[in-house]
Symmetry: C2
Subunit: 409 residues, 2 copies
C-alpha cells in the first residue's frame, strides 16, 4: 500500500531549544519510538522528516528541528535554517522548557511565525518537574494571544490536549483545496491527456495526474485517460463532448489543434498553479513573460533533483523557446532541489517548476518572497501555454482568472 | 517527481564474504558514495535496500547484504537471512575476494541460486592485488558454468563488463510482463472501477490502479476511471460497450450486477495474479477454497503492515465470509509484512494479499514454497470472486485460464 504523497500532508514542525523535549514530544504524540531520544543535548544534527498518522488529523509530515538550535540561542545559520523550515510549515509547535528561561530565541521564532502567517501551538514541557512558568504563560497570552499547553512528554499529561489543539489550529485549506472538483459536476466526463515521454519511469503516472484522477473520483466525476495520440479516438468514443480536457503542458499545442474551440481545455500545470500556488501571481508572471527584453535575467527553479533528459523542459526547452522569442542574450540561472536564492531582486522573472514535490505552504512562501523582492514569477506550464499563445484558452475554465487576465493584458 | 514503484524494479542482490568489497562494488557500479565503505569487516548489520538507476538497465533495487555474513562462514541464522533475500532476488552478484579462499560459503549460495533459478554473476574482486584465483575461475566454469568477471572495485577495472553482464543476465520477464496490454487493442476502451473506501489515503490511487492505467496507456488504450456509483453513467457516456471492465474486488458483486452479461469483467486482483503471480496455482487454490471443511486451518498473509480499518479485508471480512460458508470452527492465523512461516504444511490453504509491495520473484517464491509444502494458495481478490460466485465471469477475459478452471472444477 502506498501512502499519502508528501506534498499533500500537512507539515507540522516542532521548534524549541536543545533538550526542551522536542523528540520525546513527537514520540508521545505518535505513541511510537520514532525520534532518537537522548539525555545529551543536540542528539540530531539535521531536521528529521517523518511521515505519520496523527489522529484526529490523519496523515501528516512531522518535522523535528533538533540540531538547529544546538547552542541554545539563534545564531545566523540557525536563524536561516529555522526560517527555511517555517517556509513549509503549515503549523508550528513551539516547545518551551519549564526549567529554562523564555527569551530572545522564542521571541524571534514567534515573530517569524507571525510574519509568515504560520499558526503556532505553544507548549510548556516538563511540568512533571516543579512548575514555575506562570510569568511566561501570562506573557504568551498577553503579547502573542497564545494559551500554552502545560505538558509532560514523559508522563503523557497534556498530550491529548495538544493533539486536539493541533487539529483545531491546522489551516483548513491544506485539506480542502480543489484540483478540478469545483468545476466538474457529478457524472460529468473529463479527458486527461497524458503523454508518456522518455522521462516517465515505467509502471507509474506522475503525481499531478494521479492527484487529478483522485480529485475527479472524489467529486463523483468520470476520468478518461489517454495519450495525445488517442485523443481523437477518446472523443469519438463519447456520446457527448466532455466537460473538460486537461493536458500535460508539453502536448498543449497538439491537443489545442485537435480539439473543437467550444470544448474547455486546460493544463495540469494551470490546475496546480491554482491548487498549490496562486493563479493571480502567476498571471502577473505571464504578463512579465510577454514583456521580457533581450538583456533580462531569468531564474529557472526546479524543486526536485531528477536526472535531466536530453530534452529536459527546464534546462533545455524553456531557455530555447525564450531565447528564440526574446534574443540569445537572455540570461538564465538554474537552481534545483532545496536551493532557492535569498536575493531574488537580481532577476527579472522566476520560472518555477510545477512543485509537485513541495507542499502548498512552501510554494506560497516562494511566491511571497518573489513578490517582496518585486520579481514576477510563473510556473513552467503557464509559461509554455503563454509562449505558445494558448494561455487565453487554457484559462477559460476559470472565469475569474480569465477576466483578470483579459483586463491585465 | 515520483520514481518507479519498488515492486517494479528488478532486484539485484550482492552477496559475498565480509570485506569482499560488496559495498564498494555497489558504489563503483553507481558512481556515487552510497553504501558505507569501511576497512573494518562487517560495517553494516542489515541488508540495505537502495533504489537507483543502473545503466543500461534503468531503475533497479540494489540490495547490499553486508552484515549477514559477518563471521565469514554461513551459520544457520545467516543461511536463513541469505535465503530470505534470494527469494526476492531477480539477479544475484556473488563477490569473491581474490585474497580469501573459495569454499563452502560460496558453494552453498551457488547451490541455492541454482535451486531457486536465480541467475548469478560471479565476480572476483580486488584483482589490483596479486591475482591467484585461476583455480577458482576454472572451478566456477567447470562446476557452475560461470565465467567470473575479474574486477577491481577500487580502480574501476571490470566495472563496465559487470554492468553489461548484469543487463545481459537479467531475466526478461521482470521487464515485459503485461497487466492488460495483451488483451486490449490500440484505441479500445477499458473501464476501471475504483471505489474510494475509508482505507484510501487522500490524494492518491492505490498502486495496482496506477500500474493498470499506465499499462493501458503504454498499449495505446483508453482508460475510463470511475467509482462504482458512477459506473452506469460511465457506460451511458460511451457510444459502444467497453472492451473490458476492471473492478476492485470489493465492488465485484455490485459491478457484476450492473453490467450486461456480454461485457467482459475482471478484477485488479486477477490481473495481478497473472502479472505478479501464477493464475494456474491460484486456480488450484480456488478449488481448495470451494472444498474447505469446518476444521481446516487457513493462513492469511499480508505483505504490508498498514493500519487495519474496522472492516479490514484480511482480518475481518474474509474470515467472516469464510466462517459463514464453512462453519465457525474454521481456524485462522495471520501474518503480515516480512513474516511468512517456514513450515506451511500445517495449513490447508494460504490466503495471500495482492502483493502490490512485493516483486514478482518474491511472490513466485512464496507460491513455490506453498506448492512444495503441498498447500493450496489463492489471493484475496480471487478468493472474493470465488466466494461470491463470480470467478467464472472474471476469468472469461483469459481464455486459457478459463478453460483450465472449467476442467478443474
Amino acid at each position: 500500500m502506498q501512502s499519502t504523497p508528501k506534498g499533500n500532508r500537512p507539515h507540522i514542525a516542532v521548534f524549541g531549544r536543545r533538550n526542551a523535549g522536542k523528540s520525546s514530544l513527537i514520540n508521545s504524540l505518535c505513541n511510537q519510538k520514532l525520534a532518537l531520544v537522548s539525555e545529551v543535548p543536540g542528539t540530531t544534527t539535521d531536521p528529521v522528516y517523518k511521515a505519520m498518522e496523527l489522529l484526529p488529523l490523519g496523515p501528516v509530515m512531522m518535522i523535528d528541528t533538533a540540531g538547529i538550535d544546538d547552542s541554545g540561542d539563534l545564531g545566523e545559520m540557525r536563524v536561516k535554517k529555522s526560517y527555511e523550515i517555517i517556509r513549509k510549515t503549515d503549523l508550528a509547535v513551539l516547545v518551551i522548557d519549564n526549567q529554562v528561561e523564555f527569551g530572545k530565541y522564542e521571541q524571534k521564532l514567534l515573530d517569524n511565525f507571525n510574519k509568515t502567517n504560520t499558526p503556532v501551538v505553544a507548549v510548556i514541557n516538563k511540568i512533571d518537574l516543579a512548575f514555575d512558568k506562570t510569568e511566561v504563560v501570562d506573557k504568551l497570552q498577553r503579547e502573542y494571544d497564545l494559551k500554552p499547553i502545560l505538558l509532560s512528554a514523559e508522563s503523557g499529561q497534556g498530550i491529548e490536549e495538544l493533539r486536539d489543539k493541533i487539529a483545531e489550529k491546522m489551516p483548513q485549506d491544506t485539506e480542502e483545496a480543489f484540483i478540478v472538483g469545483d468545476i466538474v459536476n457529478p457524472g460529468q466526463t473529463v479527458v486527461l491527456v497524458t503523454p508518456i515521454d522518455t522521462a516517465a519511469p515505467r509502471g507509474r503516472l506522475i503525481l499531478p495526474q494521479v492527484q487529478t484522477i483522485r480529485d475527479i473520483l472524489d467529486h463523483d466525476g468520470i476520468s478518461i485517460i489517454c495519450k495525445e495520440t488517442e485523443l481523437k479516438a477518446s472523443l469519438a468514443a463519447l456520446k457527448e463532448k466532455p466537460k473538460l480536457v486537461i493536458t500535460d503542458s508539453q502536448a498543449f499545442m497538439k491537443v489545442a489543434a485537435d480539439l473543437d474551440e467550444d470544448i474547455l481545455l486546460t493544463g495540469f500545470s494551470i490546475l496546480f498553479a491554482r491548487y498549490k500556488g496562486d493563479l493571480e501571481i502567476f498571471l502577473r508572471g505571464a504578463k512579465k513573460l510577454a514583456e521580457l527584453k533581450a538583456d533580462d535575467k531569468v531564474l529557472i527553479a526546479e524543486a526536485c533533483t531528477h536526472r535531466r533528459q536530453a530534452d529536459d523542459i527546464g534546462t533545455v526547452k524553456l531557455p530555447r523557446w525564450l531565447r528564440s522569442k526574446v534574443g540569445s542574450s537572455l540570461e538564465f540561472e538554474h537552481v534545483s532541489g532545496r536551493e532557492y536564492p535569498e536575493n531574488l531582486s537580481d532577476y527579472d522573472l522566476v520560472l518555477h517548476c510545477g512543485s509537485c514535490m513541495l507542499n502548498r505552504k512552501e510554494v506560497l512562501s516562494r511566491l511571497r518572497e518573489a513578490e517582496e523582492a518585486g520579481v514576477a514569477v510563473i510556473n513552467y506550464g503557464m509559461a509554455i501555454a503563454q509562449l505558445h499563445g494558448i494561455l487565453d484558452r487554457a484559462l477559460k475554465p476559470f472565469p475569474a482568472a480569465y477576466r483578470l487576465w483579459q483586463q491585465q493584458k
